[in-house]
């Protein structure tokens, strides 16, 4: 159970590189979710060729105009916090795949980040103190280890980090 170790390895909630590297093999939690490997990661959505609506994650049809003509869209790395909460209790497994126990669980932030002219994305936040989060604050994408898999590799997922304290 490496999750506790990740907490100390993970950088400050508000500063650091865009991708949290380690010596372990790192694998994205899902294919086609974010660009990888890269130091300037971007979430991958889809854009409707007919009405221009952007969706995340990518899907084969447009939820607005029902068109099936969609193309891949790389989403902006920066946006603003539209709303947020904190997760203060251990979610049920399944579907949760974090490896914490109820004893060593630490709260995490969750929010919707408005990516200008694109879409609002729901994401974990690197900041879990509700008093340090506020609606409208600038945020940026980071890719960080979420858990370790059966082979000991790091499973990488996305989160948004407040920008202003850097």
């Amino acid at each position: 159970m490496l999750t506790a170790a990740y907490k100390s390895a993970t950088l400050s909630p508000t500063a650091g590189p865009n991708v949290v590297r380690s010596s372990l093999k790192q694998t994205p939690i899902a294919e086609h979710l974010f660009t990888w490997p890269t130091d300037q990661p971007q979430l991958i959505g889809s854009r409707c060729s007919d009405c221009g609506v952007v969706t995340f994650p990518s899907q084969g049809s447009c939820p607005k105009c029902t068109s099936q003509s969609v193309t891949e869209a790389l989403l902006p790395r920066r946006g603003t916090l539209w709303t947020f909460t904190t997760q203060e209790f251990l979610p049920k497994t399944p579907p949760y795949a974090g490896t914490e126990s109820a004893e060593d669980f630490t709260p995490y932030g969750v929010g919707y980040v408005e990516l200008p002219d694109h879409v609002m994305v729901e994401s974990r936040l690197t900041e879990s103190d509700p008093h340090r989060l506020r609606i409208g604050m600038p945020m940026e994408l980071v890719i960080e280890p979420f858990r370790s898999d059966a082979a000991g590799d790091e499973v990488m997922s996305f989160a948004f980090r407040p920008v202003e304290a850097r």
Partner: protein
Amino acid sequence: MDVAIIGIGIHPFGRFDGMSGLDLGEVAARRALSDAGLAWSDMEFAFGGSIDGGYADSLVSRLGLTGIPFTNVSNGCATGGSALAMAVNRIQANESDLGLVVGFDKHPRGAFAADPASLGLPQWYGETGMMLTTQFFAMKIQRYMHTYGISESSLTKVAAKAFRNGAMNPNSWRQKPVSEEEIAGSRLLNHPLTQYMLCSPNEGAAAVVLCRADQAARYTQRPVIVNGVALRTRLFGSFEVMAPSLPLEQAASPTAQAATACFEAAGIGPEDVDVAQLQDGEVGAEIMHMAENGLCADGDQEAMIQAGETEITGRLPINTDGGLIANGEPIGASALRQVHELVLQLRGDAGARQVPGEPRVGYAQVYGAPGTGCCTVLSR
């Protein structure tokens, strides 16, 4: 053609070790039949719903194998409302004159845990801990408080009202009032919501017997008319539970759409409502649903709640039986509990929690994942 409710039955909500979901459903169904002075063999059809409590139509093995059409309904938290809507439609379509709707459930302890695939969501969404209904409600009220100036004090007052009303309801799970201090100081679960501000899944059952309104006098002197019932799902742009992304444009919620359709069908406006039962999966939902159902304008809730207008003795009593917060949420039964409470209120049979002034119009609303709203207007 109007449809009337002529019988209601409920099994208390709570935890009942040793009883199955079907046991609970059977109790509610028999009580509704008894209230109507009818037997199961009089029923021409039934609709029933349960998510974790078993198949509703298997109740026929206990109630009697009479061969009637009995349809199982599954529509998330709107299951009971959807079953009621289908029963009303069936009578209005002249397919049957008389039938029963039953909803029951028996959920495991703790927050609901859903399978991402069953909701058409990617696995990573559930794996990373973002697929929790409570997070959605916390984020929705967080944004709403920011936009419309709703205070944390109002969140607390809504919860205190629920426990106070629940303490006057012998069928409610929570039987004790809880102080505002205790609510505000209870464990934070999803900021800004604390433990006592959220409802919990549990067990319970409720049922109603319906008939053509022009035949209601055969069975009761106190029929309650179903003036309207409407179900809606998401529009593009509505902010809904379990959404990995949201469009930048915003649209009316399924509740707002269903409310508009329901009032229109009823020929009754939100200003005519004397008592309302709203989906209060948590306190913020009750506050936001007040406006989504047209019962007030966005932002008016703050002054209304602070002035006590949504109390039983207030101008617009809401969740007079304690709502989901005091009753808990057995999904299949929840909407029918609301209807049960409204019928009691309209009959004048609500005892210690009776709304004064002989209320004539009642309103019920449920909301569920992944974005379903169902509304009902009743009157006497």
